[in-house]
Symmetry: C2
Subunit: 271 residues, 2 copies
């Protein structure tokens, strides 16, 4: 058994989306304390290039490392898709992304061997899900689809009704009739659109959300002793953002289930 | 008559939207050369706070100033709404924003005295259009409406059909029946949605786009000698972006009318 370690888990995302991952971490590991950073001054990442996203991810990771975290969770699919090697090379602590856990969960789930992946243009362009799915279970057929409007829809709270339904239909049309039985929600915003996605895809298609699989992966690393588990009791959470906190606090309930009480603005310099 | 000045006009925007202003400048002042900067690594500005947008605007302006421009056009409504005083204080050249020209054009156009303003959350929150409209023509009634989904719709090319129509209806509903006869498109992306906006607002409502009014304001400054006009012939255009240029080049046609041949990526450091 590993020595307990009271230091927090660090979690970052481009904005509020990663709060869906934090929610799963809280449920799975209630004793752990967390520090969350939302890079709201530079959101979104999903429509930006790999080089720019990697620079932002490195600045975020360095800030969280300065707060003495014991493990880093990259709760953003786009950053996980392009920046994990750079982050792993630069930090002396375990780094967990959301893509590998989500891809593994999907490959275990599918019976038909046909899996859909929905993500931002950056995530889909990187091919990260496609690569891990095919490596985990050779012979899988993967249909990847970029869905750039889902992030603004989720951010603005257009979660039900005609607009998200029509947008979802337009993106998912090419996937229907391919025999897929499992779809990975490859962006932390997408679980908010679960209702319309299920409606368009039909009841026979399972929707896999990386949040729970990622929390499970973190639990596994702590159990294995890659970082020590919290001493017990209930963990605390702190929140930082790079733009004014008002809007982050306001929409946090939608992503976290409870409202963030307070988030502090920090000015991170990006060279 | 003022001495000719071959130096270019500098133009910046958060991304591609400002190309609608560049297009109007090219049409009105074909002899002028231009340098355009799209801050695609930090786009969008409209959902971000005034402090963050001002920092980005100052970095953009400093970059363009380093290229020896004779006049700066802030072709972004959100930056014009919050950052003009800071930019004017820091640069030794004339600075033109898009809000005052657009607001003046709308106040001259209206007969009913009821004007609508559509903009990003940042622009509407700033109250800049409302203030200038009321100062230009006291007694005007102004209805301001933030339309956060219009930018992603325009960026992704959802310009016609059910989705933009339903979104436009939802935003414009509160404005219908107020007696307005003039609506300012207070974001450089919105002219792309002119078709659905006209359809929802009806033929009796005039849509005012700041691009032409801004080009006219720049022409006025050059005629007045605040900066010297170009020596004649046909001006040249250069383009810079802060993220990979692919997507900027790809969607430029939609905003500029012609495709940008080449854009160079620059890495601007934001402290």
């Amino acid at each position: 058994m590993s020595t307990v370690d009271p230091r927090p888990l660090g979690v970052f995302d481009s904005g509020v989306g990663g709060l869906t991952v934090l929610r799963a971490l809280r449920a799975r590991l209630p004793a752990e304390s967390t520090v969350y950073l939302g890079d709201t001054a530079r959101v979104p990442y999903g429509t930006k290039g790999a080089g720019v996203v990697t620079r932002y991810a490195e600045v975020n990771a360095a800030f969280l490392a300065s707060l003495d975290i014991k493990l880093l969770v990259v709760a953003c699919n786009t950053a996980s898709a392009v920046a994990l090697p750079a982050l792993r090379a630069g930090l002396g602590i375990p780094v967990v992304g959301v893509i590998e856990p989500g891809a593994r969960a999907a490959s275990e789930r599918t019976r038909s061997g046909v899996v859909g992946v929905l993500g931002t243009p950056g995530t889909i362009r990187s091919g990260a899900y496609q690569r891990i799915l095919e490596a985990t279970r050779p012979g899988l057929t993967v249909h990847a689809q970029a869905c750039p409007l889902f992030v603004p829809l989720a951010e603005e709270g257009w979660l039900t009704g005609d607009v998200p339904r029509l947008v979802a239909r337009s993106y998912l049309e090419p996937l229907l009739g391919t025999g897929l039985d499992t779809v990975v929600l490859g962006c932390t915003h997408y679980p908010l659109l679960r209702g319309v996605l299920a409606e368009v895809l039909g009841p026979e298609v399972a929707l896999v959300d990386s949040a729970e699989a990622t929390a499970e992966a973190v639990a596994g690393l702590l159990a294995r002793g890659d970082a020590g588990p919290a001493p017990g009791g209930k963990g605390t959470d702190r929140f930082y953002v790079t733009d004014v906190p008002d809007r982050f606090v306001e929409v946090s309930q939608r992503f976290l289930g409870t409202k963030v009480a307070r988030a502090e603005q920090v000015n991170l310099s990006v060279g």
